[in-house]
Point group: D2
Chain length 147, copies 4
């Protein structure tokens, strides 16, 4: 999945299905309860692992932001199986006025199980409405944009 | 599972594997993601459905209490499969100083998938330590005790 | 979310955020364990409910097909909260050689929590590679296409 | 939780709330979706982590057995929070004719979040009825019994 495929006007050319597109990885364990009756890891579990990686990454690079998810796109590339240790690659693709677009790749070794593009929106905790990203956080995030 | 089996000194004789032991039922849907690679509903999903039934039941009989789980025992009786609508029978077995013991039966029609005994403890939201159940709530709960 | 927004060349104009775009609904219960520390339903639970609705719908209209998920896009529109009964609207948007594109809307009453577009691919159970949809199933599915 | 508390006639004296009671640990990551609206790790997620640890442990010590869960008891000892890396201690407490009783402790560093005792039953894959543990597996398991 080219990041560009996922988000309209983005001119990115980062290939989220390749390990070398990422410099940050979050480690996850496939759980037995992640499997489903088809014998493989259920697609919902991919989303849970991507989410955990994404949040861990954001927390490592910027002071806590109160965001909600606006959109996610996941391209499933390969079946995953229990047991396995998974690396969730994380990268920032774009920073908007109140939004952050992240790219993720889910890897079992060098096999890409999925690529994902997520749009988060910063909201006001009380009003639950979108609010601009503070300047300091914006600067930190923009310095990390790739693709 | 006799409720007595689960909780030490309890003299209860309620059979949690029988529908007729319950007058309150909470409806749940088996989800595809509840299944695991053995082809049946994963045991963890039973706990999720029991929890949702238990909380819905408590909220229907008493003003909101801030509780955490102290203990759960689940006897698995039959495999469940997707898709199915499940009834979670709910009953109060005992009310302690700061604890509430609930019994649950998980039914697919007349088949009992599991019986569970849960001990909840009322805690203070700030200190996170156990605190006595207020008199009014206690009276409401004790009026419902069975077994 | 216009279905068209989600899937490249699709000329659909179905608005997946409106109840009236659907004639089939699958009922789901929000579970307590679907919530997260932000106090609302975790985004991953939306995917689990969409999946369960999608599979129930497909099974109701066509003989069993062995499919895996190739892609999902979810637009999150409103926060959902525990407890609630949710209706997952289901519609078929397109049928390809070996793929089926479905549209879903997640509703709490008339509030749309999310819209989703999913691409499933029929695979051979042994080789795990894509395989054409049998003619009879294709005819059944194509008769249902909307958008 | 003394293992003895959980299983009737067991003379065990192993304290499952202490790290030193275990020589095998399985590493798990708390996921964001493991949290619930109370702000802590939902009790169901403990069960998922215990299950994954238990299965990984069994697979490491004995050839594959087809088991289903007959019973679980979990004593919740401390709230866990996201993010954290968790160690699930695993030990075999008893081996019956067709059953295996395992003990687990869930640790965030030296803090015990929960202790669990699980009874698995070996079943025949076709009949779904309990079947005796083969002699070789029994010998391997019995050699590991503690408590």
């Amino acid at each position: 999945m080219r990041a560009a495929a996922g988000v309209g006007g983005l001119s990115a050319s980062l290939d989220l299905t390749k390990r070398e597109s990422f410099s940050y990885f979050h480690r996850e364990q496939i759980r037995f309860s992640d499997t489903d009756m088809l014998g493989h890891v259920n697609n919902v579990a991919y989303a849970a692992m991507v989410e955990s990686g994404r949040i861990a990454y954001l927390r490592s690079v910027v002071s806590r932001l109160y965001t909600v998810m606006a959109r996610i796109e996941i391209d499933y590339r390969a079946e995953l199986h229990y047991p396995a240790e998974i690396d969730v690659g994380c990268v920032i693709l774009r920073v908007g006025r109140s939004s952050i677009v992240l790219g993720n790749g889910v890897f079992d070794g060098n096999v890409c199980g999925a690529a994902a593009v997520t749009t988060l929106v910063l909201i006001d905790k009380e009003t639950r409405r979108s609010t601009p990203i503070p300047d300091e956080a914006r600067a930190q995030l923009e310095a990390l944009v790739q693709g």
